[in-house]
Symmetry: C2
Subunit: 382 residues, 2 copies
Amino acid sequence: MKDKTFLMIPGPTPVPESVLLDMAKHPVGHRSSEFSSILKEVYADLKDVFQTKNDVFVLTASGTGAMEAALSNLVNEGDNVLSLVIGNFGERWAKIAESLGANVERMAVEFGQAIDGNALKERLDADVDKKIKIVTLTHNETATGVTNDVKNLVALIKEHGAVSVVDGVTSIAALNCPMDEWGIDVLVSGSQKGFMIPPGLAFIAVSDKAYSVYEQCKHPSFYFNWGAYRKSVRDASTPYTPAVNLFVALHTALKIMKNEGLSNIHARHKKLATALRAAIKAIGLELFVKDESIASYAITAVLPPAGVSVPDIRATLKKDYDIVVANGQNALKDKIFRMGTLGFVCERDLLAAIASLEASLYKLGHKFELGSGVKAAIEHLV
Amino acid sequence: MKDKTFLMIPGPTPVPESVLLDMAKHPVGHRSSEFSSILKEVYADLKDVFQTKNDVFVLTASGTGAMEAALSNLVNEGDNVLSLVIGNFGERWAKIAESLGANVERMAVEFGQAIDGNALKERLDADVDKKIKIVTLTHNETATGVTNDVKNLVALIKEHGAVSVVDGVTSIAALNCPMDEWGIDVLVSGSQKGFMIPPGLAFIAVSDKAYSVYEQCKHPSFYFNWGAYRKSVRDASTPYTPAVNLFVALHTALKIMKNEGLSNIHARHKKLATALRAAIKAIGLELFVKDESIASYAITAVLPPAGVSVPDIRATLKKDYDIVVANGQNALKDKIFRMGTLGFVCERDLLAAIASLEASLYKLGHKFELGSGVKAAIEHLV
C-alpha cells in the first residue's frame, strides 16, 4: 500500500515524524550562530550516548566513511593490524587496513559465532615484541546478528597495549557500549540505526591514546582528519560544509533519546529482540545464532522453514504486509533473513511484524500453530 | 522574522519546497528496487548536467570529500602535482595533494585574479620531461567570485599530457562546464549549490584517461574508491549505505532542472549575476573583481563603502531583511561580503536582495540615490 512501507532491516531504520519534519526545514547557513547552537547541543548529547568524555566527531559520510576515518588516521604503511572477523563488517575493517598498506592478520570464526576471548588472549600474549599496533573488531555484526563481548575483548587489547578500534555502527544507542568504562580507543557509528535519523552522518570518538597515535600518522586523510574535527568540535563548528539538514534531524532525535533515557533505550532493544526470538522459535523457525548469549539485541537472523524460500518470505512480507526485512549477505544470501528491531521501533511494531510473518508463512505453506508466535511474544513483553 | 531567512551565501542555497517535502518522506531501503529505479534516473540525469558520457559517482560527503575522492585515487607518494591557486578552494587542492605525499608546486595569483593561460602554457612547456602528473584548478573560486577560463586551461593541460582535476563545486549547474567538450579528466561538484538540494552529497566524474591512472594508484581510498563506485553506477546501486533521503531530494531537483533546461539555467545565472553587478555599481559600491570578464555568475564579492563595515552590512541585512550574505574568508574577512545568486534563485529574489541592500546601506549612512540599484537591475533584467 502506498506510503505504508515499514523498514525492519538493519538500516536505514524508521524515522520519527518530528525528525522528518525538522529535517525538511529550509537549510540554515553552516557558519551561522543558529547552527553553532545546534552543534553545541549535538556534540554534548553525543558524548552521553557514547558514554564518553572524548569528543565525538560527526562526519558527513556513511558508516563505512567513519571506518575509513578511523584507520586512515592511525595506519602507516607496513603497520601490523589484527582484525577480528565474525562477518562481512569485520572483514571490512581488514580490507580498509589493507587499502592503507597495513599488514593485516585475520582472526576469523565461522559466521554465527563470536570471537573467543581465550583465543584472542593467546594471540596477544604470543606477541611479545608488541608488533600488533591496532586491533579491529565489531560490536554487533550486522551480517549475522552476533554481538561480541567487547568489554572483555577490549580489556585484553588494552592489557597488550594495542589500539582498539570498534565498529559500533549497529550497536551504539541500541546496545550498552560505555566507551570510557570499557576503555575503547576508537568507536564509530552511523546515523541510520540507533540514532533514528536517515543515513548520511557517521560518528567517531577517539581516546587520548588513539589521538597520540594519530599524531604519528604520516598521511592522515584530509577530509576525515582528526585534528580538523577535534578543533571544530571544540569551536562548535564543522571543518567543511556538513549535511546541515541531517544535523537538524539529529538534534531533534537526540532530544527524543534523552527523553527516553539511554538505559531505557537499551532495555527496550533487549526486550524486543528477545521477544522476537521467542516468537521465531514458537512458530517452528530456527535462529541462525544458536547460542543466545551472543545473539544481538538489534538484529535477528532467521533460517527459513523447510520448503519455504527466503525470497518468498521477503516478497510476501513486503507485498501483502508492507514490511521490509533483509536478506543474508554474500554466502548467506537466501540462506537467512534478517529482522531489525533497531532504533524507532515499539512493541506494536514488533507484534505487527510477528503476526505478519505468521500470515506470510501460513500463505507459503509452513505448518505451525497460528498465533503461537504472537502468544510467545506477548508472554515475553508483558 | 521566524521562518523567513533567505540564504544568499555560496551554499547552502535555497531549496525548492517540493524537494524539501520529498526529502522528508520516510527513508526507503537502499537495496530496494524502488531505490534502484531512483538511482538509475539520477545517474542518467547527472550525465546531462555534467555534459559527459563518463559515469558520475555520487558520494555521501561534503564537496571537500569529493576533492579528496579525486586526488586519493590518483596520487602516489612522490608524484608531482601543479596546483593553480586563485583562492582558498584552489589552495585546498594543494593541501589535499600534500596530505597524500605529493610534491606540490603552486602557481598562485593575487586573490581577485584568474590564472593567466600564457603563464600556464609557459610552465607546462618548460616541463619537457613530463614530470607533472596532475594539474588541479578551480572553475569558480567561491572565496573571491572569480571564474577561471577552464576551457583554455584544460586544453593546455591536455596538450601537455597531465591529468586535469577541476573543482566545479560552485560552477556545475550554474555555469556552462561541458566536461567532454572541454576534455576535463576529473570534475567534482557538491549538492548544496547549483543542484538546489541541501549539503551532504558530492559528485565526481572521471574520464577514461583518469581512470587508467587510478588503476596505477597504490593506495586508493576505500570509502571513495573509484572502482567500487564505477561498478555501483553501472548496477544502479551504491557501494555503501548512502544518504537515501538526499538522493530522493536530488531525484526531484534534477527533474526540476531538466524542466527548466540546462542552457536556460546557465542563462538565468548569467543574467542575475550581471544584473547584481550593475546594481552594486549604481549604488556606489565597488566590485572585488575589477575585470568583469572573469567575474563569476554564481557569486559576487563586494567591497563595503567607506565608513560602513562588512559586519554591519551583514547584520542589518539579516536582522531587518532576513537575508544572509557571506563574509570574506581568512585574509578577506571583513574586507568583502559575498552574495550568492546560485541555484534556486529567481528575479524577484534578486530584486528583494538589492532593495534590502539599499535599505541597509541607507540605514548605515551610505550616501547614494535610493532606488538606483533596483533601477539598474530592472533595466538589465527586462
